[in-house]
C-alpha cells in the first residue's frame, strides 16, 4: 500500500533521505521514531505529497510521486487522514464546521455530513463541544477534533505527526485509545513520535529513521 523505492530527499544541500526503501501494508500500526530533525515530518509529507522526492519514487494507494499531477493531489489527500502536531484546525469556525470541512471538499450532501460529523464527534468524545470554537478547547480536545476531521472520510491510512507531542499523559492515552479502535476496524496508522512510552502502551511495528534511511526495530 505504501512503498518507498530508492528515495532521496534533499533540502538545499542537506540530505534527509538517501537510498531509502520501505514497504507498509494495509492495516498496519506503525510508529516512526528518530531524533528531532532527522526527517519524521518530512517522511509524512512525502506520503501526503506536500513535498516530492528529489530522486526515486513514493507510492501510496494508487498514486505514484513520479507521475502524480497537481490536480490529483487533493484527491490523494482525501483518501488519507492527516493529524498534525499543531492540530491545524480552521480557527475561524467551530468544531462541527472543522470536521464538516473535510466532507464539504468532497461535495458530500448536507444530511450525510451532519450524521457523519456527529458520529465522529461522539467517537472522539466531543459531542458536547460541537459549537465550541477551537480557541476555547484544550490541547487534547483540539487534537481529538483534528482526529475526527482526519477520520471523517473513512481513510485507509491515518498519518499522525507527533499527535501527543503537546499533550499530557492522560490526553495522550485517550488519543492512543482512539487510534487503536480505528486500527482494529482496518485503517492503517502511521504515527511519528519520540514518546517511547506509547510503544509500551500499544505495541506496533517500529520504524526508525537513521542514516537517511528506514530500519525496522524489533
Amino acid at each position: 500500500m505504501i512503498e518507498f523505492h530508492n528515495v532521496r530527499l534533499t533540502f538545499g544541500n542537506q540530505d534527509i533521505f538517501d537510498h531509502a526503501n520501505l514497504a507498509i501494508s494495509e492495516g498496519e500500526f506503525v510508529y516512526v521514531i528518530g531524533e528531532t530533525g532527522i526527517g519524521k515530518s518530512s517522511f509524512l509529507r512525502l506520503l501526503y505529497m506536500d513535498t516530492l522526492p528529489t530522486f526515486g519514487r513514493v507510492r501510496i494507494g494508487g498514486y505514484d510521486s513520479s507521475s502524480i499531477t497537481r490536480h490529483q493531489i487533493p484527491f490523494l489527500r482525501r483518501t488519507i487522514g492527516i493529524v498534525f502536531q499543531d492540530y491545524r484546525l480552521l480557527e475561524d469556525r467551530n468544531v462541527f464546521d472543522n470536521v464538516a470541512f473535510a466532507l464539504h471538499v468532497t461535495g458530500a450532501r448536507r444530511q450525510v455530513i451532519a450524521s457523519k460529523v456527529h458520529r465522529l464527534l461522539s467517537e472522539v468524545g466531543l459531542s458536547s463541544k460541537e459549537f465550541a470554537m477551537p480557541d476555547d478547547l484544550s490541547g487534547g480536545e483540539k487534537q481529538r477534533v483534528a482526529i475526527a476531521r482526519a477520520l471523517v472520510n473513512d481513510p485507509v491510512i491515518l498519518l499522525a505527526d507527533e499527535p501527543t507531542g503537546n499533550l499530557d499523559p492522560t490526553a495522550s492515552r485517550d488519543i492512543l485509545a482512539i487510534f487503536d479502535r480505528v486500527n482494529r476496524r482496518g485503517t492503517a496508522i502511521i504515527m511519528a513520535t519520540h514518546d517511547y512510552s506509547l510503544l509500551a502502551q500499544r505495541p506496533g511495528r517500529v520504524i526508525k529513521i537513521q542514516n537517511h534511511s528506514f530500519y525496522d526495530v524489533v
Binding site: Y48, T51, L52, I73, P74, R77, R88, L90, E91
Partner: protein
C-alpha cells in the same frame, strides 16, 4: 462542489472578519469615487465640445438667383448628402434682415438694390462634425451646379479636432492609470486579508480541498465587497451632485447630470474590481509548491 456551501462560506467571511471587510469596501469606494468623478468630468467636457461642434453650420451661396422649383430641387439634393441634417433656404430678403440685425444698418439706406446672394444654411448631423467629415460635405456641395461658394468655420473645427485628439489621449491615459491603480490598491488590500488567512488556506489544501473549492468563496466575497463599494461610491457621487453641483450648474451654463446607467456601471465596476482583486491576491496562496517550510 456545493453551491449553497460556497455561498454560505462567502458570507461567513464577512461576518468572521468585519474590520478587513470594511477596509476592502472602503478601498473600493474611494477608488471608484476617484474614477467616477474623473469619468463624469471627462464626459461632460466631451459633451460640451460636441455642442460647440454641432453649432458649426455650412453656408452655401448661390451664383444666380433661383426660382421656387429650383429651390425645392436644390433642397432635395442637399438633404440627400450624407451628414447633412437640416437645410434652410435663406432668401435675399432674409439675408438682408440678417445683415441689418448684425450690422444695424439697412441696405435700403445705402443701395437701391439688394446685392446679397441667395443661400442655403446646412446644419451637420451628429457624428459628421469632425473637420474631415465637414470638409468632405463642403466639397460635395461646392461641386453642385449653381453653387458659388461654401463657407464654414474651418479653423475652429480643425482646432477643436486637434485639441480633442490630445484630450482623448490624455484622458484615456489618466483613466487607464486610475483604473490600474484602483485594481492594484484593491488587490493589495484583499491580499492583506487573505495573507491573514494563509494558515487556514494551507490547512484546507492539506485536508484535500481543490484550489477552486478554496478560491470560490474568496471570489464571491470579493465581488460582494466590490458591489458594496460601488453602491457607496454611487451614493456619495449622487449626494455631491444633487446637493452641490446641480444648484450651481445654471450659473456655470453647462448642465452636468449623472445618469442611472452610470451608477449601474459604477456598481458593476466595483464587482469587477473586487473579483480581480481577489483573483490576483489569492493565486499565490493556492499554488501547490510541493516543497514548503512548515
Amino acid at each position: 462542489m456545493s453551491v449553497s456551501y460556497t455561498l454560505k462560506e462567502s458570507f461567513a467571511g464577512f461576518r468572521r472578519n468585519r474590520a478587513a471587510s470594511l477596509i476592502t469596501v472602503f478601498t473600493v469606494s474611494i477608488s471608484l469615487l476617484l474614477l467616477g468623478v474623473f469619468a463624469i468630468i471627462t464626459m461632460n467636457f466631451a459633451g460640451f465640445v460636441e455642442q460647440i461642434r454641432s453649432r458649426v453650420d455650412l453656408e452655401v451661396f448661390l451664383d444666380t438667383d433661383i426660382n421656387e422649383r429650383q429651390q425645392e430641387e436644390m433642397n432635395d439634393i442637399l438633404t440627400s448628402i450624407p451628414g447633412v441634417d437640416e437645410v434652410v433656404f435663406v432668401s435675399k430678403e432674409d439675408a438682408a434682415k440678417i445683415f441689418e440685425r448684425d450690422f444695424g444698418e439697412s441696405f435700403d439706406d445705402i443701395l437701391e438694390d439688394n446685392p446679397l446672394p441667395q443661400s442655403f444654411r446646412l446644419s451637420i448631423r451628429e457624428g459628421y462634425t469632425t473637420s474631415d467629415s465637414v470638409a468632405v460635405i463642403a466639397g460635395r456641395v461646392e461641386k453642385l451646379q449653381l453653387v458659388e461658394s461654401v463657407h464654414y468655420r474651418k479653423q475652429l473645427l480643425e482646432l477643436i479636432d486637434r485639441r480633442a485628439r490630445a484630450f482623448t489621449v490624455a484622458t484615456l491615459f489618466i483613466g487607464i492609470m486610475l483604473a490600474l491603480s484602483a485594481v492594484i490598491l484593491v488587490a493589495n488590500t484583499i491580499r492583506l486579508t487573505i495573507y491573514a488567512k494563509r494558515h487556514i488556506i494551507r490547512t484546507m489544501k492539506l485536508v484535500g480541498a481543490t484550489p477552486m473549492f478554496i478560491r470560490a468563496p474568496f471570489l464571491i466575497e470579493g465581488v460582494f465587497h466590490g458591489m458594496l463599494g460601488g453602491i457607496i461610491a454611487s451614493l456619495l457621487i449622487e449626494i455631491v451632485f444633487s446637493f452641490f453641483i446641480q444648484p450651481l450648474s445654471e450659473d456655470l451654463l453647462v448642465s452636468i447630470h449623472v445618469s442611472w446607467s452610470f451608477y449601474a456601471l459604477l456598481v458593476l465596476g466595483g464587482c469587477l474590481l473586487g473579483l480581480l482583486g481577489s483573483l490576483i491576491s489569492i493565486g499565490r496562496f493556492l499554488k501547490e509548491a510541493l516543497v514548503q517550510p512548515n
